[in-house]
Amino acid sequence: MPFADLDVRFPVRQERMRELGFQDFSVPFVAELAKPGDARRIPPGAGLAVACSPDVELLREAARSSRARLLFSPAFQPDVGLIREAAEKGKAFELPVSPLLQSAGVHRAMLMGKMRFFARLCLKLGAPIVMVSQARDGFGLKSPREMVAVGQSLGLSRDQAEWSMTEAAGLVLDASR
């Protein structure tokens, strides 16, 4: 199965992604949700859209909306209601590498703990997770092998980590086209 990085946040050449081992990638439309109703303001032709908010209620609204295909909770709040809703609507959660690269020491350790618990809940409740780089420059890009290693340190098995970048990512891409 081809690997895909669904959230690259800078214009990157396709050859560069191929060198790293990704057959597909996307620079998505990122919707920062600040107030109720923001999820409905995502343009219909935006392609792949990521709904991002620290507010669980706004993310729930985005999970119900048909425009956002990916959800991102920067604080990785383990809200069972939100995760259940996303699982029912077939929306996937992002598990990004970039916040780990930007943090260090005890902050990284705490973040990893949150991400690990969040990923475990998603797997338990049946919400798909998609490992993404969220890279803002070339140094933030990671190869599939590196992402799998990071995924394993977040409690995923090798198969689950690979699945999150192949089949799960493929389903999200197909739904957004």
Binding site: L20, V97, L100, L101, Q102, A104, G105, R108, D137, G138, F139, G140, L141, K142, S143, R145, E146, M147, A149, V150, Q152, S153, R158
Partner: protein, 107 residues
């Protein structure tokens, strides 16, 4: 002293990785960064289990090799992947190949 039996020897893996850095990095800098990445990610106890040993760095090709215990390979890979800087300059270690022998890395 009698030799250690082959079944008692610890199994090792050699990890080949390339170094991308904003500025030119020397062998000592890469070595320090790799050890620091593993120590900060795995801690002292985890590092003792991983048993990392920096083998060398080819500055021309930007390739480095590190040895570790095969049981801790995934953790060492994650530690290297999550290194974001060398001496304060933006950098990335890119995993290329893993082998049980150094010769296997060049195949």
């Amino acid at each position: 002293m009698p030799p250690v039996k082959p079944t008692m020897r610890s199994k090792r893996r050699y990890v080949l990785f390339s170094v991308e850095c904003e500025s030119q990095a020397g062998e000592q800098q890469v070595k320090r960064a790799a050890y620091d990445a593993i120590l900060s990610f795995l801690g002292e106890y985890g590092s003792s289990l991983a048993g990392p040993k920096f083998i060398g760095f080819d500055q021309k090709r930007g390739l480095a090799v590190i040895r570790c215990s095969h049981s801790e390979l995934e953790k060492v890979e994650a530690a290297l992947a999550l290194r974001a800087a060398i001496d304060g300059k933006k950098a990335a270690f890119r995993l290329k190949k893993v082998s049980g022998t150094i010769a296997g890395l060049s195949r």
